[in-house]
Structure formats: structure tokens, C-alpha cells
Amino acid sequence: MRFDYDTSYRDGQALLRYGSGRAAYAVLALLLLAAPWALGKYYVGEMTYLFIMCIGSLGLMVLKGYTGQVSLGHSAFLALGAYAHAWMLGKGLPFALSIPMAMGFTALIGLVIGLPAIRVSGLYLAMVTLAFAILTEHVIGHWDAVTGGFNGMSVANPVVFGFDLSGLRPFYYLCLGLLTLVLLGLVNLMRSQTGRAFRGVRDSEAAAYGLGIWVSGYKVLAFVISAGVSGLAGALLAHHVRFLTPEGFGLFLALELVLMVTIGGLGSLRGAIFGAVLIGMLPVFISRIKPMLPEQVSKQFGLEIFVFGLILVLFVLFEPKGINGRWIKLKTFFQTFPLYRKDLFKRGKTYMKSERYK
């Protein structure tokens, strides 16, 4: 049984205030650092891919999970980041410059899209962002001179300060490092004024205005940050796939990203990571179990989409707070042992003596 017992405001600020939490993250860090030396080539590549998807998922989480704005078009920001980065590398720009510039470029596009998009919300916003993704895919497919069109475009190796990081392990560490940086930056941002304002805009615009939060400004800011982070994911993805084609950034990717943040648990960075790992692993998992399935099932076209949909439905029905919600319950179970009650997380209906007294 554990009680939070703050003796100073700094106690409440600490990210990992208990030794057990610090130890757990230290073990995780060691495992991730050691993994490329213990795992086979294929899995190192897969994990690198998961790191990149984690960055993409974090990007969308800022927009969808924290400010409550849906986007069905985030594949476009990844595509723009990937193509901008590949193009700049092709023009001879160094990697260390091209990455921030690609992020800046997608952030700028995020601003351009965000300014009109924040006028609408819900289904309309979903449609606007979807249209943006389709348009982007179309432009990339037809602007042969810059993007190579449907013939594709090759991506130069990532060379950072003279070191070629295109090898399996170096690129793994590069992606892990950048993911860590993005995650820490977002953790900080989400626990300060900006993150609070985002959540305020999401939960009540009326109250947000009343407390001095410039609602439209923060909505656009969420678009900009989200697009910039997604651009980074795109740029790294470019190196991972080594050859860019417009189809690589289609609506299926946009859908995967939405699933990651929804299943992971909206409004939580940890959830974005959980979701990205689960959804990112799913295609591999499905292809692994395919041979074990009866012929009629495994031959079905669209098996992946079906499984994705099924998982989404199951989560919406049984765990709307996503994997992160499950995680918190599990943790609470151990921390409050043996006092955990099954209905501890049921939305409290605590009535006062005379609720709604008239």
C-alpha cells in the first residue's frame, strides 16, 4: 500500500518519485540499449520501425489526444517530412541540418492546414484532414521533377558528422535517441502551461476562453507541433524504407496512426507508445500466424484491416481508456494491494445527501 505524501511542491513535480519507478525505467533503458546485440537482424529492423512509429504516434497524440482534434490525414505529414528530407539530402544538405529543416517544413504545412482546419471540428475536421492527405498523395505522385512521381525516389544514407549511420545497429540507436528526445520534450511540454492549455481546450472551450486561453491559437499550435513531430517520423521512415513511393504513405498509414493513439489511450504519451508498439507489431504478428489459420481465412483479402477493426471495437467496448487505462489499473492494483476494489475506476457516482436539491 502506498500513499502520495507531498512535502514540497517539487515532490508533485517529480516524474519518477519512487525508487521502483526509476529502477523499472533503468531496466527498460538497458534492455533497449542491449537489444541490437541480442536480437537477430530482422528484429532489430522491426524495433527500429517501431521507434519511428512511436514518434509518429506521439505526433498525432498531441493533436488528437491532448487537444481533441481528429486527423485522418497524418500520413501526409509523414510523407512531406520523408520527401522533404530525402530531397534535401539529394541536394547535398547534411543530415543534421536536413532533419530540423524537414521538421520545420512540415510544421509550416501544419500551420497552413491548421489555420483553416480549426474552424471545424469532429467529423468535418476528419474530412478536411482526409482531403489533405489525399491531395498530398496526389501531388507527390504527379510532381515527378521533385518526388520522382510513382517511379519513386531513393534516399541517401544518414551521415551524421562524418559517420554513416545507415547500418542496422547505428540506425537503431539513432532512432532510439531521437525518440527519447521527442518523448522527453513532449513530457515537459505536456506538464507545463502549454500542455495544460491543450487539455483545457479539449475539455471545455468556454472555460478555456474564460481563463485567458487563446483557444484558436492553441489549436493551431497543436497542429504545428504535431506536424513537426510527424515530419521527423517521416524523415526517419525514409531511411528505414530507403526508397520512397507515394503508396507508402497512403490512407492505411493514417488509419494505423489513429488506431495507435486511440487504442493506446487518448491524452497520454505513454499510451501513444503502447499503441504504436501494438499496432506496429500487428502486421508481423498476423503474417506469423497466417500459416496456422485455415485456408479460407488466411487467403482472405484485407485480413489485416479486419483484425485492426476488431481490436478497435474490442477496446472501445471494454477499455475506452486504451492500453494506458489498463496499465494504470494494473499499477494501482499492486500499489493499493490488498485494498484494490474492482469498481475503483468506475466513474464515481458519489451522491451527496440531497443531490440536485431544488
Binding site: R191, Q193, G200, Y209, G210, G212
Partner: protein
């Protein structure tokens, strides 16, 4: 001394005249109540003051300044905070997080400092928490500090909303039916708190209220509205005994 005034204010929604040529003044340090039957336009007055709606005519003045054209998110910086008739809390957060949002208008470091969680940002966050603790103390919210607001009883949620408005350190506080849905015990607490807010914090209060006993107890003056117009204005006793007011309430 007049701190706040509304001059010849009108607001139309299509065919509905929600506010019709309304004028009144509120003195520094006063608790000013607005009463009136349902649909009289009371909430609309607060909404025009906080710039939710543009008035069709008239003006709003606060501390010698015309705030009729102020941007909606700048109203609190001018010194005016409010609560809502239908509670508007940040449902995803705890009581503490809701109150910290009340401190939004105070500096918490620039964007990049926040990104890096610099010592300056940490100090500003701690200062905001300290300020919020004072409000928690004042309104007896300590037992709920870390509770998610979504699960709190209705009465406590109303207090959290009041606390959040106070965390913004307003000089003028607008309350929209603060006692609706409260039990008699909670309403009595509320009367004491309004008294504290007026006398200890020196905050001027405009409150829309249905409960006449609370109005009599807490308010210095009362404005009674009907159909967007001013029906009567005076001390609680004067307004309550005004024949036009009685007629309006009896459903004329």
C-alpha cells in the same frame, strides 16, 4: 466608486430580444445580484461581459476602460473571471489541474523553456501551486485535491469551478447561479465564502441567483430583470417588495 458599468446594452438572437437597453453600475467591493424569471436574460448579460456574444448595441466599462470590443480570451487579463450555469470543468483533470488552469494568465515560462523544463519553469510551476493551495485552503477543497473532477459530487464540482475562477485572481467575479443544485448546508457555506471573497480578498462580485435567501444574505444590491429589461434595482428588501417584481415572478 463605480468600478463596472453596463450602458444601454442590447442583445438580439434573431427574433428574441435577450437584453433590451439595459444599464446598471456596480461599485468597487460590492456584491451585486441579478435575479429574474427564466429566460430574463441574466446569463446573456454575463455572456456579453465575457465577450461570448457581441452586443447589438451599448457598451461595457470596467475600471475606466471600455471592454466591449476586447478579445474573448483577454477578459480575464483585464481582471474579470466567471463561473458557468452548467458547470464547465476540465473533465479530464484532477481538482489541482483544474485550478492550475485558472492560473493560465500568469507567466509559466516561454514555449522553449517549457519544452526544456528549465529551473525557471519549475519555479513558476511551484509558485502557481502555492497560489492554488491558498484557494484550496479558502474553499476547503483539500480532501479532493488529487481527485479527478469527473467523479466528484455536484456540490463539490461547483466549488471547484468557483475555486478555479478565484485562482485567476480576478478583481471582478461573475457567478452564474452558484447555489443551483446545492443542498441547504452547501448553500450556507457558499454564503460565507462570498462574504470572504468580498471582505478578505476584496473582490467585487456580480452573481446571477435564484435563491432569494442567499441573495438577501450576501448581496448589497439587487437588479431584477424581465424580458431583457431592468425591472427594479435596489437593496434586496426593496426589490423583493417591489410590486412589479412580484408580478413578474407570479407569471404575469
Amino acid at each position: 466608486m463605480t468600478m463596472f458599468s453596463v450602458r444601454n446594452l442590447s442583445l438580439r438572437f434573431g427574433g428574441v430580444q435577450a437584453i433590451a437597453d439595459l444599464s446598471f453600475e456596480v461599485a468597487q467591493g460590492e456584491v451585486f445580484a441579478i435575479i429574474g424569471p427564466n429566460g430574463a436574460g441574466k446569463t446573456s448579460v454575463l455572456n456579453v461581459i465575457t465577450r461570448v456574444f457581441d452586443p447589438s448595441a451599448g457598451s461595457v466599462h470596467f475600471e475606466g476602460r471600455d471592454i466591449t470590443q476586447l478579445a474573448r480570451h483577454r477578459v480575464v487579463n483585464a481582471g474579470i473571471a466567471r463561473t458557468f450555469q452548467n458547470i464547465e470543468l476540465f473533465e479530464g483533470g484532477t481538482v489541482l489541474e483544474n485550478l492550475l488552469l485558472g492560473r493560465h494568465r500568469f507567466g509559466h515560462g516561454n514555449f522553449f523553456a517549457q519544452w526544456l523544463w528549465t529551473p525557471g519553469v519549475r519555479a513558476a510551476e511551484a509558485a502557481s501551486q502555492a497560489a492554488v493551495e491558498q484557494v484550496i485552503e479558502l474553499l476547503d477543497l483539500a480532501p479532493h485535491r488529487k481527485s479527478p473532477v469527473a467523479g466528484l459530487p455536484y456540490g463539490v464540482r461547483k466549488v471547484v469551478e468557483l475555486a478555479r475562477a478565484l485562482a485567476a485572481r480576478p478583481r471582478l467575479l461573475l457567478l452564474d447561479e452558484p447555489s443551483s443544485g446545492l443542498n441547504p448546508e452547501e448553500t450556507r457555506d457558499l454564503a460565507f465564502w462570498i462574504d470572504d471573497i468580498q471582505n478578505d480578498l476584496g473582490v467585487t462580485v456580480i452573481m446571477v441567483e435564484h435563491d432569494m435567501s442567499l441573495v438577501s444574505e450576501a448581496a448589497d444590491r439587487v437588479l431584477c430583470m424581465n424580458l431583457g429589461q431592468r425591472l427594479a434595482l435596489g437593496t434586496p428588501a426593496e426589490v423583493q417588495s417591489n410590486p412589479a417584481v412580484i408580478a413578474a415572478y407570479l407569471g404575469a
